[in-house]
Symmetry: C2
Subunit: 270 residues, 2 copies
Amino acid sequence: MVDGVHFRLREHGTTPHDVGHRALAGALSDLAAMGADAGEAYVSLALPVQFEGALELVGGMEELAAATGTTIAGGDVIEAQSLVVSVTVTGWADSEGELVGRDGASAGDLVGVTGELGGSAAGLLALSGSAPEDPLLVRRHRRPEPRLAAGRVLATAGASAMIDVSDGLATDARHVARRSGVGMELDLSLVPLAPGVQAAAAAAGRDALELAATGGEDFELLVTVPPERREGAERAASDAGPGLTWLGEVVPGSEVELRGAPADLRGFEH
Amino acid sequence: MVDGVHFRLREHGTTPHDVGHRALAGALSDLAAMGADAGEAYVSLALPVQFEGALELVGGMEELAAATGTTIAGGDVIEAQSLVVSVTVTGWADSEGELVGRDGASAGDLVGVTGELGGSAAGLLALSGSAPEDPLLVRRHRRPEPRLAAGRVLATAGASAMIDVSDGLATDARHVARRSGVGMELDLSLVPLAPGVQAAAAAAGRDALELAATGGEDFELLVTVPPERREGAERAASDAGPGLTWLGEVVPGSEVELRGAPADLRGFEH
């Protein structure tokens, strides 16, 4: 993550603590989407000489590391023109077979998503003044929680493919479809909206579903599940906390069709 | 490694291939100094939009990875204002006891260094025009080789502490002394100079021993060895290639005394 590209320190009150949390969360989210246990994190900080928030930034990482059972095991600090935070995480499983990739979806599988979407994008609208203040949405934007527990139990419950929703539901669904060699039919009107997203989108003159489907950075899990494993997956995701909402199914072909979407989103390509 | 801080692309003909090699070599050198086997490398590239050397840079890494048995297992590519290359490597040993730290040196241990020093600093003098052209020295500067094999055999042969010579012999000796709670008496006139260093230093009006002791970036290994393991360590380093030169011994206290050094180096602190 690079200051000025992926975030802007001090803009909208973004703190070094937020940056540290967000950088580790993004890395852990990729482990969550494989069903892996969080292992070690290695942190490289490239700091401008005048930067004074390094300890606060690492504090944000340490807090999330403690909450997720991650060990910050090493790293490096170097000088740079602008703040760059690079986090490598390793994850663990008892065997390779326990891990879930992006390439296992088959026609007939159900497609679901954990938790709620749109919160991060709506939080950014609130921060930028396009929507009213909303501390919960802002928190979803600044302090996303990687879905490690949900990823593990969904893997055990038979998920055939998973990805974390970082680029946006529409784009990430296409990543899974391409890697699995399948198509998908998704009904975006089923997308679970985080509380407050509808109001924030309306205030900003945006479509709430479009915001939820393209905003990204929610770090929920998009998962495909064979139909016979449906109930087990629902129970697992519910026990783990965020729950699971079905959006459609995997179909033969290579197209990801988005039903119930605004006209401009149906042709959306990232 | 940051362009403009740790290297300057295109200055003195530095290529993306050099940068890729150097970034991975620096990371692997830390594994070498622990006596670890190279395992996986995770590479994060932060690239300016106009940068066109990414594939060449990765090619430089892949070449060194193949030569050292390193697997480039993952990573990320992001946009940034300037080129930043971040490499995390994991290394492996059959048990923690096989690894060597910086903290195991005891009074009476011998202090040695693998290979030859000063080549990287002299290569930079040649590149900058302060010394005559010298392709071998320039290669030492641009394409340093991590001492993985020597590190492993020295660990097996009973090394009590190791560090790679990245900051410079004088500084790195102090790192080991501080971490081990000991002092050292080193005779810098014994430092093995790389071929051409004497001539390059003379041309640039520099003292060759000062160059070798403070230049750093040679990525040789500074090692402490109990006296009864002396012959085994010599044989191991010789079998592994670079050989070993004794520079002095570990003493009680906390001072690193540099004998045979120019007057201004005896008080040198990094």
